[in-house]
């Protein structure tokens, strides 16, 4: 039975009682992402307080893996700096896309290590990443909004072209 390798008890716990579920106000940016192969959807909102991720909320229409992943994401990134949360995101992505060859770092990933088993099922990696891609996109949008505001207020320098890198855009 290999099933438990993928459906770690931590994943099932998050699936049954997801964190951050239900869209909340206020928020700075929202992202809607869809998995075109199965039709699963997530709407995720981010609120920043300065450089800190103050709140994440989401509505996920998807499988246990995508729902649990969005829940773990909420737990991992709220309260961290944007730069830190992007480091967690990179580590999570590297682990899930690593085909089981990438050793996860529990220090960085916390409950996220429970998704190490998903890496052995390439068809499910997108499920695990759906919420994280929404988070990244929402943070980029936040950064773009901020950049636009800064530009309007101060009108110094030319238009930014690096807003796609959220870690840079907010430093």
């Amino acid at each position: 039975m290999q099933l438990e390798q993928m459906y770690h008890e931590i994943i099932l716990d998050h699936y049954r009682s997801p964190h951050g579920s239900g869209l909340r106000e206020p928020f700075d940016a929202e992202s809607f992402q869809v998995n075109p192969t199965c039709g699963d959807e997530i709407t995720l909102r981010v609120r920043l307080d300065g450089d800190t991720v103050a709140d994440v909320s989401h509505e996920t229409l998807g499988c246990s893996i995508s729902q649990a992943s969005a829940s773990v994401l909420t737990e991992l990134v709220v309260g961290r700096s944007v730069a830190d949360s992007m480091r967690v995101l990179s580590a999570f992505q590297a682990m899930t896309q690593g085909r089981g060859q990438v050793e996860p770092d529990e220090e960085v990933l916390g409950d996220g290590v429970a998704f190490a088993g998903v890496a052995r099922y390439p068809a499910r990696v997108k499920c695990a990443l759906l919420g994280w891609m929404a988070f990244k996109d929402a943070v980029v949008r936040t950064a773009q909004i901020e950049t636009a505001l800064v530009r309007t207020a101060q009108s110094r320098g030319g238009p930014r072209t690096d807003a796609v890198d959220p870690t840079e855009a907010t430093t």
Partner: protein, 453 residues
């Protein structure tokens, strides 16, 4: 074995079989492999792609080892043999679906066949008087149905976008049938395109009724026969459709080959889609004239070993007999419908009896997402399809993001249906649904209540 398809009560189990499944299975090497740590493969995803018997693999290999050359070119012996093999394949495939060889155009797959017709229609403008019966523009209509595979929807959306025509569709009723009374065709309806059998619901369309309605207003018809030709006797001339498409890989044949059928007088008048070598009559620097069909629609060196393999597949199916294939699958479908109906919290999408229904059985399990159902089944060696099965609007219609789908072919057994049903029970138990355990359902939106309804 029963030959009636009226309802579940006549579904036989253990009655004399029309098909010697053990002998059939011995022809399919892949069916004897194991998956996921030594579990025997239970392949219930033939609606996506079917497996191929040795006879098909051998035909392809033998063609390549003995006769391979570019067809319809050259005068050497191999070129002659290859052309004969290719045209013999066309004739056997045509006979299999009740068509003339000249009415069979080889394409990559059904998707390409549908695009061929759609692009031929947008090429009609300026292609001469004969082609005007295909012309389409603002104010004209294309009519499809809500249950179409994306392959029979998106090309028509695109045709309408290119030409300014309007796309309309027959909605689907709660029990998975086409609602034929909700829209009325008009003199501006240019073409009605519909699936013979739904790849999700299994629903078989009322072909005669749809053809009659289309003909009454002078519209063309296109039948997506991808899920019918592989599973039951289909006689395209008798069905009286104008066009039909099907794919080789869903009928025990190779991928990379499919068929566009068109009534000969229509193909003769239809402008080409892809142009280039092979499809010409005469070429000068200033312009070209085109070959008669089917060559007009087969630009470039075509797939050849694949066509030969597909002909071997129709020979194989004919040897068993399509009535027997149909009856065998009806028995499997009845067993699946009955078995799944016995699992609490399982909802079948589409008709729940064999009445006007084929063997694609899509279902949702309350509280367990289709992906998770599929994963538990996969862990037990049972391969099914999960997701929207390229019919996203249909899933929206039923208010679900995704479903699980089991689909069959002549090599499947009743024991495999039992494995499916047991696997679905195991999925419910694994996720703590309906077992009386304390595991609550997730508080996130229920997958069965997609907010787009």
């Amino acid at each position: 074995m029963t030959t009636t398809t009226e309802g579940l009560d006549v579904a036989p189990r253990g009655v004399v079989a029309a098909v010697d499944v053990a002998a059939v299975r011995a022809d399919f090497p892949i069916l004897s492999r194991t998956v996921r740590g030594g579990r025997p493969l239970v392949y219930l995803d033939s609606g996506a792609t079917s497996q191929r018997p040795r006879q098909v693999l051998d035909a392809e290999r033998s063609f390549l080892e003995q006769h391979n050359a570019a067809v319809h070119r050259g005068a050497h012996q191999l070129a002659e043999e290859a052309t004969d093999a290719y045209e013999s394949a066309r004739a056997r495939i045509a006979a299999f679906v009740g068509a003339d060889p000249g009415e069979v155009v080889f394409v990559k797959n059904a998707t390409e066949g549908i695009n061929l017709v759609a692009y031929a229609m947008s090429n009609a403008d300026g292609a001469g008087e004969e082609a005007q019966r295909f012309a389409i523009g603002p104010g004209d209509e294309i009519v499809v149905t809500e249950l179409e595979h994306h392959a029979n929807l998106v090309p028509w959306q695109e045709l309408c976008r290119r030409t300014g025509a309007t796309l309309r569709w027959y909605p689907v009723t709660d029990d998975g049938r086409l609602d034929l009374d909700s829209i009325v065709l008009s003199g501006r309806t240019r073409l009605v395109a519909f699936a013979h059998q739904s790849n999700v619901l299994g629903t078989i369309a009322p072909v005669a009724e749809l053809v009659a309605r289309a003909r009454e207003v002078g519209a063309l018809t296109l039948l997506d026969a991808c899920q019918s030709v592989p599973h039951m006797p289909v006689h395209l001339t008798d069905l009286d459709v104008d066009f039909a498409v099907f794919s080789g890989h869903k009928m025990l044949g190779p991928s990379g080959v499919g068929v566009l059928y068109g009534r000969s007088e229509l193909l003769a008048a239809m402008p080409p889609f892809l142009t280039g070598g092979s499809m010409i009559e005469m070429v000068r620097m200033e312009g070209a004239t085109y070959a008669p069909p089917p060559q007009r629609f087969e630009a470039g060196v075509p797939m050849t070993s694949q066509a030969v393999g597909l002909a071997a597949a129709v020979d194989y199916l004919s040897e068993i007999g399509m009535d027997a294939v149909h009856d065998h699958e009806a028995m499997l479908t009845a067993a699946a419908l009955e078995g799944l109906a016995g699992v609490p919290g399982v909802r079948i999408l589409g008709p729940t009896t064999l009445d006007r229904r084929g063997g694609a059985v899509a279902f949702v399990v309350d509280g367990v997402h289709a992906h998770d159902v599929g994963q538990v089944l996969d862990d037990r060696g049972v391969a099914i399809r999960v997701g929207h099965h390229c019919a996203w609007p249909l899933h929206r219609r039923f208010g679900v993001a995704a479903s699980a789908r089991a689909s069959f072919h002549v090599y499947n057994t009743v024991e495999e249906i039992d494995a499916l049903v047991e696997g679905v029970r195991a999925a419910r138990s694994f996720f703590g649904v309906g077992t009386g355990s304390s595991a609550p359902a997730p508080s996130a939106p229920d997958p069965a209540t997609n907010r787009e309804g």
